[in-house]
């Protein structure tokens, strides 16, 4: 699925104009209206009335692009994931996606100063050399949906191949990973797919790839030696979810051997209360906001625990019912939910972070240079935080 033709207008700031990648990106959009603007130029007026998903803005980053995932309130466990926000916004239309409401910007932003980002990344990682990081580009956009993201992914894979204490995760709902297969990744990149049953994709994930093509792309990536991950997020409480998710997992393990999967996340639908009305306005016929949702301890709407835990339990049992099951974790869930579903719960975010490293160490020989030590993770800090210098 080529999503490049979604863009109607392209703005390039003067600072981005001379970046090697800028020309390559622009070449992908022949015939589109392009405008070079000063770095401090406000494009709001030019882009007025156009869906931000259809406006591309190439520029240099200001502030931290490499940083900790914001996660959610302390009442729910988060995994101390780190992110590279090189791409901000996504050309696909998932009904439940928070980005269409969360990103208050008139365009899809791509930072083209790759070198600066990689220098910053390496500096930050070197501050905590004993800790093994998971770092993803799919937090504020899809990692592979548009050319500028794929160009970044290409260079990021090469860069991470030489970073001993980190794994790059490229997360997507496309099947566009083939251009990456021959890049020397050195086992330090995880190609990850967000998956849902095809019926849910049809109803709620517009302009994304079909399930079967995502899984086929994942299988090809696995054959090319990439580590793989999957994200069952958001899990939706739709009628017949038991069979839908059961079939999905059968399909998953049919295509992908569990031993190639580094981790699988589970998370149920959640969104800020203010998004409910916006979702109804944007997708008037959707029934998604009318599930049995309550306001969680972080203020977000989420399925009530008696609704989501049975879903998690069923999915978890199936996911772990294979030999060498992947590391399974929850995104933004409470300790109570962890315990109910898995029988145990990490004591803290840092401990969960450590459990990832421990799992990788045990399951993928040679990936980590040495056995992870829990204390390193307990004392760890987000990449954007500057450590106090002694003395």
């Amino acid at each position: 699925m080529n999503l490049n033709n979604r863009f109607l207008r392209i703005f390039v700031t003067e600072s981005a104009l001379n970046d090697a990648v800028t020309g390559a990106i622009i070449e992908k959009y022949p015939g589109r209206i392009q405008k070079v603007v000063p770095d401090d130029y406000d494009i709001c007026e030019d882009a007025r009335g156009i869906d931000p998903k259809r406006v591309l803005y190439l520029t240099h980053s200001k502030g931290d692009v490499v940083k900790g995932c914001p996660g959610t309130a302390e009442s729910y466990l988060c995994c101390n994931y780190q992110v590279i926000n090189q791409t901000q916004n996504c050309p696909m239309n998932c009904v439940y996606c928070i980005l269409q409401f969360y990103l208050n910007q008139p365009a899809t932003i791509l930072f083209t100063n790759f070198e600066d980002i990689f220098i910053d990344l390496k500096e930050k990682l070197s501050c905590q050399p004993k800790r093994f990081f998971r770092i993803g580009t799919g937090e504020l956009g899809d990692s592979l949906a548009i050319s500028g993201s794929v160009f970044f992914a290409d260079q990021a894979i090469r860069t991470f191949a030489n970073i001993p204490n980190a794994l790059l995760e490229l997360k997507t709902k496309t099947s566009e990973a083939d251009d990456l297969l021959n890049i020397p990744h050195n086992g330090h990149t995880v190609l990850a797919w967000s998956i849902n049953p095809q019926e849910i994709i049809d109803r709620y994930e517009f302009k994304t790839s079909q399930l079967i093509t995502r899984l086929a792309a994942a299988a090809r990536a696995g054959d090319a030696g990439y580590l793989l991950a999957f994200h069952l997020d958001p899990i939706l409480a739709v009628p017949g979810w038991e069979d839908l998710y059961s079939d999905l997992l059968d399909e998953l393990y049919l295509h992908i051997p569990s031993e190639r999967i580094v981790w699988i996340s589970m998370g149920s639908l959640r969104f800020p209360p203010s998004m409910k009305d916006k979702m109804i306005e944007r997708y008037p016929s959707t029934t998604l906001p009318f599930g049995e949702m309550i306001r969680g301890m972080d203020g977000k709407m989420r399925y009530a625990r008696p609704v989501r835990v049975p879903m998690y339990k069923k999915i978890y049992q199936q996911l772990t019912g294979v030999s060498d099951p992947p590391f399974i974790y929850f995104c933004m869930e409470s300790q109570d939910v962890w315990e109910e579903v898995t029988g145990t719960s990490p004591e803290s975010n840092a401990y969960l972070d450590y459990l990832f490293a421990e799992s990788l160490y045990k399951r993928f020989a040679g990936l980590l240079a040495e056995k992870p030590v829990r204390d390193t993770y307990e004392r760890g800090f987000s990449l954007e935080q500057i450590p106090n210098k002694p003395g």
């Binding site: 009318f290 049995e292 969680g296 301890m297 009530a304 008696p306």
Partner: protein, 314 residues
């Protein structure tokens, strides 16, 4: 405004039938002193003067030959400026009700005032954000029946609630009117019922008549021996059960288990109704030795086991 002048007129000189600007909710005129707080503004028009502000006074029993002090604005003042002026006066007293804004905008539209002028001259006076869609939304609130309108005003309902009433088709609106007349609910209860009914309709792809039938809606309006407050509580539970079926089953099961504990009246065992916190809260008021003995009895193995089971079930 310098061009506003006090004048003395007889009521005969005022055209009481011209109600173009009769847009604000009338306040009862208690006595003549009310005029001190509620000035009457008039404007020269054909056949004398028309009232542009202060229609409340029409409720008084003044006679046609009685002379009153009013403030006259120039006849040349255009309609948009008049509207802006009366908004300014009224908003100094209190925020406008959505239906009042709706009436103001209807007057503007009737006299072909362009939307741009409405947005940039009137909206700032009303202190609302200039958005085109709001013009039609506010105007639509004027279609609400007087009784329902009175209720929404009395409850100081926000625009969103007014609009959810506007969205109701004729028969549906009648049911809500019936609900309000019978139960006089708080605004939050009305909003809850309307929201849940609307969400059930959309979720289950049913019309309201079918949803109400599924609910056995009429049952709650039959007098019987049940107090309206209890009927309302039962109705809310019934609506909740359809809107949140799984949650209701879980809640009922926990409630039933707590009831079986047979706690004394001075003790309550409660839980987080969102079920996010898996914990129970025990409140026990202790006043007598008997209370203390009951508390001691709670510690027996059987009761503790039952409470443990409830905690697990939570």
């Amino acid at each position: 405004m310098q061009s506003v002048k006090p004048v003395v007129l007889t009521l005969r000189q005022i055209n009481k039938n011209d109600t173009t600007f009769d847009v604000f909710v009338h306040q009862p005129v208690v006595d003549n002193l009310s005029f001190l707080q509620n000035p009457i503004l008039v404007q020269p028009a054909a056949n004398g003067y028309r009232i542009v502000y202060g229609f409340d006074f029409l409720q008084t029993d003044y006679q046609d030959d009685d002379r009153i002090v009013v403030y006259s604005i120039p006849g040349s003042l255009d309609l948009l400026s008049v509207l802006a002026l009366i908004i300014k006066i009224q908003i100094n007293k209190r925020a406008l009700y959505p239906v009042e804004i709706g009436k103001l905008l209807s007057v503007a539209k009737t006299y072909n005032i362009p939307d741009d002028d409405i947005l940039h001259r009137l909206f700032p006076e009303i202190k609302i954000t200039a958005q085109n869609k709001l013009i039609d939304q506010y105007k639509s609130t004027t279609s609400i029946h007087a009784d329902l309108r009175e209720y929404l005003i009395q409850k100081n309902a926000p625009l969103k609630t007014w609009l959810s009433v506007v969205d109701l088709k004729g028969p549906e609106r009648k049911q809500i009117e019936k609900f309000i007349t019978k139960f006089r609910p708080t605004l939050s209860v009305l909003e809850e019922i309307m929201l849940y009914l609307s969400e059930i309709k959309t979720r289950d792809r049913k019309d309201l008549a079918t949803v109400l039938k599924d609910l056995n809606w009429e049952k709650y309006f039959q007098a019987g021996d049940i107090a309206p407050k209890d009927s309302l509580a039962q109705l809310r539970t019934a609506v909740f059960q359809i809107r949140y079926p799984q949650l209701s089953i879980h809640k009922n099961s926990i409630d039933s288990d707590i009831k079986k504990l047979d706690l004394p009246n001075n003790a309550t065992l409660s839980y987080d109704e969102s079920f996010e916190k898996k914990e129970l809260t025990l409140q026990w008021r202790l006043r007598t030795t008997k209370d203390l003995k009951r508390l001691q009895q709670l510690g027996d193995d059987m009761t503790i086991r039952k409470i443990r089971q409830i905690m697990d079930k939570l």
